[in-house]
């Protein structure tokens, strides 16, 4: 405790004025939103998420319902839909139907749910695990060699093959697909986090914390992690985009989610056989896939420019 003599003798010294509160800090969100790429990418993504959430109210029917009598309809056809349960109704097929008579628009809209869920879940999972690995490797020098060789080993296995074997082993559920796609992404995140941690741990404010007798876990949590979060978020968007693509690839190859489930990859796989006559079965869901991945990547680029101008190109 500072002894009293100090505080009492302070009254005669002038206190230096500090500049008025900086408004910039509070409006970090506004700065990010001022970036054109963030607005474009984020806007498209919000629309897609809203579309996925509002799927039942967007002129859709059960995406798995089959009606062989109305197979291969062209986009924009108004036709009678006979469900297997026996009831029938008039339906406007915006994107036509596939060979089994399933409404492609409904499948695409519901497919957005799968793609976005998988993209976001994979990003979160890969970031969390990769961050843990990277923090440990970067901060605890004894574990560095072990963890990074493990990561190198993981990186040596082609991601898609790894995912295919995992799905083959544990069955095609959303959870398996998420884990199978996330694991190959972990090394890249871990490497990024490790390199950032290695830079930050040399910063004088970390040394100051050591001199203040701050325990290691607190240094990691309070001084290193908050300063490493920006590149991590940016990497997360790229992981998300990659995951959406890989899920579509797995489905397209028929080694991902069950073929009757509405996913963009499954719709395209189904349309592949009749691509010459009905190219829209592949192209229309393909457009959604491309736009989604592009939006996520543009959002990532915008975040990179505003959060971390030093990272000029994509990591990994």
């Amino acid at each position: 405790m500072i002894d009293g003599s100090i505080s009492t003798s302070n009254d005669d010294v002038a206190v230096e004025p500090i500049p008025p509160a900086n408004a910039r800090r509070r409006s970090l969100l506004r700065t990010i939103l001022r970036n054109g790429s963030v607005r474009l990418g984020g806007g498209v993504l919000v629309l897609l998420i809203a579309m996925a959430a509002a799927a039942p109210w967007l002129g859709t029917i059960d995406p798995t319902a089959i009606d062989p009598s109305s197979g291969n309809l062209l986009p924009g056809t108004l036709a009678e839909f006979h469900s297997l349960a026996g009831d029938s109704f008039q339906h406007f097929f915006i994107m036509g139907t596939d060979s089994l008579g399933r409404d492609i628009w409904s499948r695409t809209v519901y497919g957005a749910r799968v793609s976005l869920t998988i993209g976001i879940a994979v990003a979160v999972l890969a970031l969390l695990l990769g961050m843990a690995m990277g923090l440990l490797a970067g901060y605890v020098r004894r574990l560095d060699g072990l963890i990074m060789r493990l990561m190198d080993g993981l990186m040596a296995i082609p991601g898609i093959l790894f995912a295919i074997s995992l799905v083959a082993l544990f069955g095609g559920t959303v959870a398996t697909v998420i884990v199978a796609i996330a694991i190959p992404e972990i090394p890249r995140v871990a490497r990024l986090v490790r390199s950032v941690v290695l830079t930050i741990r040399e910063e004088p404010y970390v040394e100051a914390a050591i001199a203040l007798d701050t325990p290691g876990w607190k240094i990691l949590g309070k001084h290193i992690l908050p300063n490493a979060i920006a590149p991590l978020i940016i990497q997360g968007t790229y992981v998300c985009a990659a995951a959406i693509l890989v899920e579509a690839i797995l489905s397209f190859l028929g080694v991902g989610l069950p073929t009757d489930m509405a996913t963009w990859g499954n719709i395209m796989a189904e349309g592949r056989a009749q691509f010459n006559e009905y190219p829209h079965n592949v192209l229309l869901p393909g457009v959604f896939l491309a736009v989604t991945v592009l939006a996520v990547n543009i959002l990532g680029d915008g975040l990179r420019d505003t959060l971390d101008p030093k990272l000029s190109k994509r990591e990994g």
Binding site: M1, I2, S5, I6, S7, S9, N10, V13, A14, V15, E16, P17, I18, P19, A21, N22, R25, E203, P204, Y205, E207, A208, A209, I210, A211, L212, D213, T214, P215, K222, H223, P226, N227
Partner: protein, 542 residues
């Protein structure tokens, strides 16, 4: 080349105003600047950070970034107007009629080209000569900038040379075409003091030889005293005072100039009370730090960063460690603070030996010895409020949060900041204010000893004076021991009681300021003292 117009000024800047983009902290980067550089003269632009001195240099060279390109007024080089001149014309003039020497020679040179090739590139663009003639000319200029073994330097890459040698290459590139105007933007700030003295001498010699006009930008009045003919004092983009060197430095008219000159630390005998021979707070005995480079199967090399350093710090005493970069002064400080582990030797704090203690058992040391770092912009966590940074130490030592916060408010008074500052983030403060916050953070642990590792080196001279005064004040109130690491002998002479001179990891001389600085026994100490810029110049005195 352009020596025909001897009577006219080489560079004439009049009414130069360069607006800043909207939203900046002031409307103009520089405002109504007028000065001239006569042939064969050196004009110094001097000012603290943010005074706009580099902006002027870049405006002359036509290197202003796009958002600043709306300059008004006039810049004329040998009668030719440069403002608004087409880029192709400026490209032709750069190098041939005007050239620039930058602050950091490593970034001014291309690391993937040999030094010879870099000079050659510039020469080939401007003159018609064949390769062997160019080579001869380059070797000749390398000799003239006093580079040893020009043939070897020609084939060397920048990283193979020392900082001083690199700066000589940059000067060679600037001067090889004998430009009428040489602009030096803080050319010696990144260099050691003895190297700085050599480079200043070189610039003076070459300038006399060629009759070059020099626009020299610096923040250091010592350097101004060494080389200037005329001085222009700038402050926040405004011209405060201009005139011949002796007039500005000896009888300044403006209060701002007087304040700046008064803040320049003088190399003079200190007026400090003698230290009572009480028990030392901190003692280091035969401290060594050796680094090993290379690993099996390569060759191992041992680098002795510090060798047999012994020192004592008593209550109320300031012990200085001075030396150039690579002398091991910071290594010693970091060993004593146990930020790095000493190879051998002993450290006693409060009677306890802490040199071998494991990191878990360092609390007694951490409590009593605190560190203030050099770079105020990097020593505070940008994502933490100032208050959180300050209470971190006490909370680690078991002080309840509320009590620690109340203490932090008192400390803010002590370092002359408002307690409101505690809820703000570091980016809202200036460099000097941040350094005060760092001091408050160190004091919050109620240490007995402060280690100040170049704590004022990154600050402007007026701020530096304030921080030094604050440290002396706090030292007196709390009878702290201070271990003060600095490369600036003038600063050391002002605040230290005793001093240790280090060179390449070894202590060359150790003793009271009086003995070491005013009757040096070692040749290196004498050389260091002789290199201090402006050491014999009495600032602000007739």
């Amino acid at each position: 080349m352009h020596n025909s117009s001897l009577a006219l000024p080489v560079l004439c800047v009049s009414d130069l105003t360069i607006p800043l983009p909207p939203g900046a902290d002031r409307t103009n980067a520089v405002e109504n600047i007028s000065f001239q550089v006569a042939p064969g003269k050196i004009t110094c632009l001097v000012g603290e950070s943010g005074s706009g001195k580099s902006v002027i240099a870049n405006a002359v060279m036509g290197l202003l970034p796009k958002p600043l390109a709306q300059a008004t007024g006039s810049i004329s080089l040998l009668g030719e107007e440069l403002l608004g001149a087409p880029p192709s014309r400026l490209r032709l003039l750069r190098g041939a009629a005007m050239a620039m020497v930058f602050q950091e020679p490593m970034t001014a040179l291309n690391p993937t080209m040999t030094c010879g090739a870099q000079v050659d590139e510039m020469l080939a663009r401007h003159v018609r000569m064949n390769a062997s003639e160019r080579r001869r000319k380059i070797l000749d200029i390398f000799t003239r900038v006093r580079l040893p073994d020009p043939e070897r330097i020609y084939a060397s890459y920048p990283h193979q040379l020392s900082g001083g040698q690199r700066q000589r290459i940059v000067i060679a590139i600037a001067l090889i075409l004998k430009p009428a105007l040489l602009i030096c933007d803080e050319p010696t700030t990144a260099l050691d003091v003895t190297t700085q003295a050599e480079i200043l001498k070189l610039i003076l010699e070459l300038q006399r030889e060629n009759g070059t006009a020099v626009l020299f930008i610096t923040h250091d009045f010592g350097v101004v005293a060494e080389i200037a003919d005329d001085v222009v004092v700038l402050r926040l983009g405004e011209m405060i005072e201009a005139g011949p060197k002796l007039q500005v430095l000896r009888s300044p008219r403006e209060p701002y100039t007087r304040m700046l000159l008064a803040a320049v630390p003088a190399l003079s005998a200190p007026q400090r009370a003698p230290i009572a021979p009480t028990a030392p707070l901190l003692e280091a005995r035969k401290l060594c730090k050796t680094y090993q480079t290379g690993s099996w199967p390569g060759k191992r090399r041992h680098i002795h960063a510090a060798r047999d350093v012994s020192l004592l710090v008593r209550p109320g005493e300031t012990v200085g460690i001075v030396g150039e970069s690579g002398s091991g002064k910071s290594t010693v400080a970091r060993c004593i603070a146990r930020l790095i582990d000493p190879t051998s030797g002993d450290i006693h704090v409060g009677g306890q030996s802490v040199a071998r203690a494991s990191h878990r058992h360092l609390s007694p040391l951490r409590r009593q010895v605190q560190v203030i770092f050099q770079d105020p912009y990097r020593s505070l966590n940008p994502r933490q409020t100032v208050g959180a940074s300050i209470v971190e130490g006490p909370v680690n030592f078991g002080v309840p949060y509320r009590q620690a916060w109340a203490q932090a408010e008192e400390l803010m008074h002590l370092v002359r900041l408002s307690p409101d500052a505690l809820r703000r983030y570091p980016n809202e403060f200036s460099g000097g204010q941040r350094q005060r916050i760092s001091i408050a953070r160190a004091l919050a642990c109620q240490p007995k000893v402060l280690i100040a590792d170049e704590a004022v080196s990154a600050l402007d001279v007026s701020v530096q004076a304030q921080i030094l005064k604050l440290l002396a004040d706090i030292q007196q109130r709390l009878s702290l021991g201070i271990l003060f690491i600095t490369h600036d002998l003038r600063v050391a002479s002002q605040i230290c009681d005793s001093v240790i001179v280090m060179h390449q990891g070894e202590v060359v001389e150790q003793g009271s300021i009086q003995d070491v600085f005013f009757a040096p026994r070692h040749a290196y100490t004498a050389r260091l003292l002789a290199a201090a810029p402006g050491r014999d110049f009495a600032f602000g005195q007739e």
